[in-house]
Amino acid sequence: MNQDWPLFEVFIRSRAGLEHRHVGSIHAADPAMAIEHARDVYTRRQEGVSLWVVPSAAIIASDPAEADSLFEPARDKVYRHPTFYEIPDEVKNL
């Protein structure tokens, strides 16, 4: 069997109203097989109600070498955190 099936990243929506979250990756020969593999590998314990699979090759990633210039400048801007709001207990998933 071909060991070089393309890699797909798997995203699961755990329940209606929530966002899809990255959970891992699988190998598959085609998109239909990728959905079946994601289902069989990652939703065996009722983890979700919806699946996305994305070819890993389609993901454009930031360069770790550029992390300093990309992310450091935010470090001294704590005023961007809206921490002065009181969040009522009834509000979930904010």
Partner: protein, 263 residues
């Protein structure tokens, strides 16, 4: 024979047929589930290993519900474990197709796809059974089986319309297994009794839809449908190939060596 005796006789005939019919459904799922379980740790990819195990667990889940129900209908105190582990091969009434041994992955896919397509139509029809318990079991099983058919037909197309070697191997498996499909629609007196009582559909009525689905999948897979098989296999009457005894030896060894063992 007096009239009341004749009525009683007919009722006990139906009762026995009802037990046998449910047992046939149960055994077909159980044996196919066990066969698929043999792939665990041996499938060509990790993802397929889990995929086949998932199918196996669905099938064994169906078998548990059906065996428990058959035991209740029978009324002799046999539970699912007694029926699964303490019967010998001649008492099993699964279709001959599902006991055929695993060969390569494509062979397993062909066996699965032929059975899935049959079970899907059967379970859909059984959701309208006059037997409410059987209809409820079928309603659960039909969702599982719809996925099974999607899985197996997807692989059939990939292998059939794949490389020259995968095409040739899967066609050979189809040619070998095709002779066991005759039994899928060969109704006997048990089938006739449960169909007349509205418990089960007429088997012959399912054949056109099965045949159409099979032909469509084969076309997509660029495979050739073998000629009609005339040889009547009789797994559902308890006449089995030697393969079933080997399967049962492995499946039943532990509960027979340690009666009542729990783990």
């Amino acid at each position: 024979m007096s009239a009341p005796a004749a009525i009683q006789d007919a009722a006990s005939g139906l009762a026995a047929a009802h037990v046998t019919y449910v047992l046939r459904l149960a055994d077909t799922s159980l044996i196919l589930g066990q066969r698929l379980g043999e792939w665990v740790g041996h499938a060509p990819q990790l993802e397929e290993d889990l995929g086949l195990a998932n199918l196996a667990l669905d099938l064994i889940g169906q078998a548990r519900l059906l065996l428990s129900y058959a035991g209740e209908l029978e009324g002799r105190g046999r539970d699912e474990d007694a029926l699964a582990f303490l019967r010998d091969a001649p008492q099993f009434v699964n279709l001959s197709l599902v006991e055929q041994p695993n060969r390569d992955f494509g062979h397993t896919i062909v066996r699965q796809w032929l059975t899935d397509t049959w079970q899907l139509l059967l379970y859909e029809a059984l959701t309208h059974s006059s037997d409410a318990r059987l209809a409820a079991i079928a309603a659960k099983a039909v969702k599982e089986t719809r996925y099974h058919q999607r899985f197996s037909s997807g692989w059939l197309v990939r292998l059939g319309d794949g490389t020259a070697e995968s095409h040739e191997r899967v066609q050979r498996s189809l040619d070998e297994l095709w002779r066991f499909t005759h039994e899928l629609f060969a109704a006997d007196e048990t089938d006739a009794l449960v169909a007349a009582a509205g418990i089960a559909p007429e088997l012959a009525a399912l054949e056109p839809a099965w045949s159409a689905r099979i032909t469509a999948d084969l076309q997509a897979a660029t495979l050739t449908r073998p000629p009609a098989a005339a040889y009547p296999w009789h797994g559902k009457r308890g006449a089995h190939s030697e393969h079933l005894s080997h399967l049962l030896a492995e499946m039943q060894q532990l509960p027979r060596a340690h009666p009542g063992v729990q783990w």
